[in-house]
Amino acid sequence: MKKYVLFAFALLSSAVAVAQGAHDFKINEVYVSVPACCQQKAAEADSAECCAAGPVAGYQDEYGETPSWIEIANTSFSTHDIRNCFLTTNRDVLNEDLSAPERIDMMSLVPKGDARTNLKAKQRIVFFADGKVNRGTLHTNFSLKPGEENWIALYDGNGVTLLDSVLVPVLEPGHSYARIYNKDKDAFEWVDVAPDQVTPAAPNEIGDNTDDKTAEWKKNDPHGIAMAIIAMSIVFGCLILLFVFFHIFGWVLNRIAKLKRVQGIKQVAEAGEKIVVMAKEGAETKGIEMENYVAVIGMALHEYMGNMHDVESGVLTIEHHQSAWKNKDHMLRHAPEIHHNH
């Protein structure tokens, strides 16, 4: 039974560990490439003709083309591999009645065996949504449709766990849809980003909404005064707390030690009173219980001397005492006297 419990626990732990890593992947920015003719007459454009015309300038893939792209970010501070995860735009995968293989058939797999899928802390990867999966690891089997809403989902390797999804609205040509940190709300939100702020494979930053702390300090505290005040306050705060704790703790310990000393003195005083009483009684009984009294007095003296030992001055005194032990005349053998007989 124990084995099964242990096995179940290990399985659960490993499952959680895998999920933890995968859940750190977030869809970070989406760009829908719009063919040139659609830009000119977006409303009446026929998508088939537009596609044939080819897209305008944008982020280029390995073939020099500028298809739509989806940026995925590893939002954690650990390295995670996105291989075996799935990307899809097919909403049918949301049908809970579908089996995993059926869902997987509707998704685009991130293949394994490519070092680029191993994302370090805060690193991003761009997948080209061009429907040309034969062009490499970073190409999906679906493409994004210009002039329409695009629902994009990222699934874990089991094809069932939804890691992240986003509904990309119809975007103006050249614009992207990006997940940006809003400092005021202390949360991430999706915003339509102007062409000059589209940042494939780079942090999404608009105006003050940057997660670059150095830039923020440089802008708001160019002379370092705020840093000095805040940091010194924190350093002082830490050490003041330590000071307060050990000041109070030291005081409490000191009080406890004093109380113990006072208690000891009281005990000695009580014992002394008893001795006085016993000595008086002993005199009255004329030494009938002399042995007991002597034992009690001896014990009391022993206790007293013990306590006395605890309050000794702590000063070492080595005073010179002349004694027979130090007297050379007594310690050394006298030189034999030689008597000359004349």
């Binding site: 150095t214 160019p222 924190i234």
Partner: protein, 389 residues
């Protein structure tokens, strides 16, 4: 036969010529010579003048080692070349795991009794950290970026491992210069601090005799690393690597149940790490990276940081004395010990105290702010890391 033999000689001559192009003599530049002389100077300082020999000898030799010129031919020997032995050792500096190990050793060797007995000395340790932020302000004014300024300013904490830890995270391109600067100034504490201390104190202040510290119980000694860890890391979690290891080492020492571990952490392990740290930091100062205007500015800023830290420690004690009753006053000569150059700064306090009064021993009193400075500089590093990384 003769032609064949001539061909062989030609081949030998060609290979010998090739070999000569690989030697240091063929690749040497003036910058290498200068750096080798700097390394030799460090070794001389350590051996002849007894300036922090445990640090300056590995760093000095490291500087020489890192500046031996060679032809870049993929031999995997240089510090910055992948797969070289030196590069392997350098990972401890680059990834910042040597400094916490040094802090483990420091914790295992440090006796915090002086601080626990007189906890108000912690504030002196905190005040001296102003050297860091004073230097930060000056570095920004000189045009450094905030992350670079923070890496340079931490030199004012007078704590080599902390300086390496922070600069490896915030300004790795300046780390070599920052580390060498931090250790150089730590070795030069006896030169930098005394004149500032003398200038800022009156004769009367120098003669202040501090009351004898109370005895510290074992319970307090055991509680200190635990409470210290909890308080400091709850406030500044970014200081966890340094503070965690410092207090861990101290708990090993004070628990009295892990004496063997404390001995290893404070002796063998610490020695190994200090050797590798010193050597690789020295090696990282290759002439092309080191002999720049930035390095000169870092040395200037480092000196400023040290002086500001010393002055702020001494001045804080003088200010503090205004609020302390007679008999409880602190001798301002221990203010310099707030920088965490342990125990050198405390020794300077003692020496200066003895010069003023041959019976005024300040060493144990100065150890209080000195070890508080270690905590203070680690907290300051954590704050800078938290704000700027």
């Amino acid at each position: 036969m003769l032609l064949e033999s001539l061909g062989l000689w030609g081949f030998i001559a060609q290979k010998f010529t090739d070999f000569l192009t690989y030697t240091g003599f063929a690749n040497v530049e003036w910058a290498n010579i200068i750096m080798i002389l700097v390394g030799a100077f460090f070794i001389w300082l350590a051996i002849k003048k007894d300036f922090e020999p445990l640090l300056l000898i590995p760093i000095g030799l490291g500087i020489i080692l890192g500046n031996i010129p060679f032809k870049a031919a993929g031999l995997e020997i240089g510090l910055y070349e992948d797969n070289s032995v030196l590069n392997f050792f350098y990972q401890g500096v680059k990834l910042g795991w040597y400094p916490p190990l040094v802090f483990l050793g420091i914790g295992a060797m440090t006796d915090f009794s002086a601080l626990i007995a007189n906890p108000k000395l912690m504030l002196v340790g905190a005040a001296a950290q102003f050297g860091i932020f004073g230097a930060y302000i000056i570095a920004l004014a000189m045009g450094f970026e905030p992350n670079q300024a923070a890496g340079i300013a931490i030199i004012g904490g007078a704590d080599g491992p902390t300086a390496i830890f922070l600069s490896s995270k915030l300004s790795p391109n300046l780390m070599g210069a920052i580390a060498v600067c931090a250790y150089s100034y730590m070795a030069l504490v006896p030169v930098i601090q005394p004149f500032i201390m003398r200038a800022l104190t009156t004769k009367k202040e120098k003669l202040i005799k501090m009351e004898k510290s109370r005895e510290v119980s074992q319970t307090e000694r055991i509680l200190f690393p635990i409470v210290g860890l909890l308080i400091t890391t709850f406030i500044v979690p970014s200081g966890l690597p340094l503070l965690g290891m410092l207090f861990f080492g101290n708990l090993l020492k004070e628990s009295t149940k892990t004496t063997r571990l404390a001995k290893t952490a404070g002796a063998a392990l610490n020695d190994i790490v200090v050797m590798l740290l010193g050597l690789t930091v020295g090696c990282s100062t290759q002439a092309s990276e080191f002999l720049t205007l930035d390095t000169i500015l870092i040395f200037v800023l480092g000196a400023c940081a040290f002086m500001i830290a010393t002055a702020s420690g001494v001045c804080f004690v003088k200010l503090f004395n205004l609020f302390l009753p007679e008999g409880k006053k602190i001798n301002p000569l221990i203010g310099n010990a707030g920088v965490s150059a342990v125990p050198m700064a405390a020794r300077i306090s003692n020496q200066e105290g003895l010069k003023a009064d041959p019976h005024n021993y300040l060493l144990m009193h100065a150890m209080g702010p000195n070890v508080a400075g270690v905590i203070g500089s680690a907290v300051a590093a954590g704050v800078l890391l938290g704000f700027l990384s």
